[in-house]
């Protein structure tokens, strides 16, 4: 999100024309801020205000936040965070290795173009169709499930293996489908950004390839690597449609609990719903904040 903030901004604004009032320049950005305020900032403000109110009497309270410690809600936050962490780390590492393999691993160049295009599509192939695709593949009646059972006698859903697509593990496998392509898309330009001079300089100083990676390349890539993993964390933490379609809400996730609050069919306590939403916004804000900070650090090195 922070591409090239500085180059042109540093040049500064031209001198205001004589006779033009200073304030009129601001008019150009008013519609944008007005729209964002009306349809995003104010509505979220309503949630924020509501989270500090008693849903019945409207009196100020922090009871809604105290209620967040209910076991079901703690469990939901735990599950959401766990799934997001696992898919961020696994997706991040595999995505990095994949990007590394096609760029520096000596594979034909055409594969790289192929992977990049496919990653662009796959990272956007999320939600309902993705959940359905995996149901047809590894679901109870999925073709791979059936193939393994009929031809190889391996019963995925049997007692021995006990696999199920409709569990945490299943959800993680599905989420990875949009997680690691995103990693590939972000890491590829970063790996490209490693300058030849750095490698040559290390070689001239007698560094082995291993030492070059350990002391030069990886430290430069680390902010991007970490930042993108945090981005992946947020990406799966906020996901709702995929999980809902796959499990119909049987796995407790924060997004699914909030969905229940919106439709009001499980435990109708709207104040608690507000507090859950705010808890989520806080976690996302921390994640995106760290991501933006790390992006800025990595840009210092990898500006192309």
């Amino acid at each position: 999100m922070t591409v090239a903030l500085s180059a042109d901004a540093a040049r500064g604004a031209p001198q205001a024309r004589p006779g033009r009032r200073f304030n009129s320049a601001w008019l150009g950005v008013v519609p944008f801020f007005l729209f964002a305020t009306l349809f995003m900032i104010l509505p979220v403000g309503v949630l924020l205000a509501g989270s500090f109110e008693d849903p019945v009497s409207g009196a100020p309270t922090i009871q809604n936040y105290i209620d967040l410690t209910e076991p079901t809600i703690v469990e939901a936050y735990g599950t959401s965070i766990e799934i997001s962490l696992v898919t961020a780390v696994v997706g991040g590492l595999f995505g990095f290795l994949l990007a590394y393999a096609v760029i520096l691993g000596g594979l034909p160049r055409i594969l790289r173009a192929l992977l990049m295009t496919f990653s662009g599509v796959a990272s956007n192939f999320a939600g309902v169709p993705l959940a359905l695709a995996f149901t047809f593949t590894l679901g109870f009646q999925g073709l791979i499930t059936k193939f393994l059972a009929d031809s190889l006698g391996i019963n995925l859903y049997g007692k021995g293996i006990g696999f199920s697509l409709y569990t945490k593990l299943g959800l993680e496998i599905v989420y990875l489908y949009f997680q690691f392509p995103l990693m590939v898309l972000i890491m590829a330009p970063a790996i490209d950004g490693l300058k030849r001079e750095w490698r040559e300089a290390s070689e001239n100083l007698g560094a082995s390839p291993r030492e070059y990676w350990q002391h030069v390349a990886l430290p430069i890539l680390t902010p991007t690597l970490l930042g993108t993993m945090i981005l992946l964390f947020g990406n799966s933490f906020g996901a709702q449609a995929t999980a809902y379609q796959l499990t119909s809400g049987s796995i407790p996730l924060v997004t699914l609990l909030i969905s229940n609050q919106i439709s009001g069919d499980v435990f109708h306590n709207i104040g608690l719903g507000y507090a859950m939403a705010m808890g989520m916004v806080v976690i996302m804000a921390v994640a995106i904040g760290i991501y933006a900070r790390l992006q800025r650090t990595s840009e210092r090195w990898l500006r192309s």
Partner: protein
Amino acid sequence: MSGPSVGVRAPGALEAIEASARARPPRRLGVGKIGSWIIFLAGVIYFILPLVTTIAFSLRLQPFGQAYANVINKDPKFASSLIYSGFIGILTIVISTLLIVPTAYWVRLRLPRVRPYVEFVTLLPFVIPPVILVFALLRAFSGGPVPLTTSDEGLNVMVVAAYVILSFPYMYRAIDSGLRAIDIRTLTEAAQSMGAGWGRILWAVILPNLRVALISGAFLTLAIVIGEYTIASFLVRPAFGPYLSLLGHDRAFEPAAVSIISFGLTWMAMGIIALLGRGSRQSVQVAGAR
């Protein structure tokens, strides 16, 4: 989520790298060529398998292609939901463009100090996932001075507004990097000296120069809006996402067919973006949580 920018580099850099790669084998991180192939093939299998099985599943209904025929010919909701989502998508793109282009242009030209605030606002949709945005919108507009939830028109306004907000991050990114590639200062001064007003400058000078950026931002927005489920379903819109979701619960083979069609649409949108981006300063963009 946030769009990385891909392929933005100085002309000739690629060739230089290629030449150097030919001259000397590149250094590797202990992972040999075989390791690279294994990783690549593992990725390919994981990518391809769900698609192949979904295609196979969709073709199981006899006679050949019957599942596709069923949805396309016999299910009026397929076409109507696709048209609805497409229409909402176009509306979203138009409004988003009208809001973002003047803002990004003005920030670059006159108000560089406002840039952090604009960037902050365009980053917010990542902090506020769709499920919370729709929750907030429902709460804010279900009563009070502007009740929008009581009529179809109101709900349509809300769904478009929500999608415009969702489109902010990548529309802004696309347009801002498009503006970076052209010299807006000189173009603006040239247009001004010929007597053009601000509206004319934006419409006749800036917009045409942003064609590639706009089209790629637009197709990404379209791909996202057409597949979107969370917001559309809570606002009870007859959109494509909720339609596919319901179909997935009700039928066996038809959802596979519609999933493949949906994947094809995403592929088409991304393909157009990739095609346009060739040889120009262009970024590949990705969307947020779903």
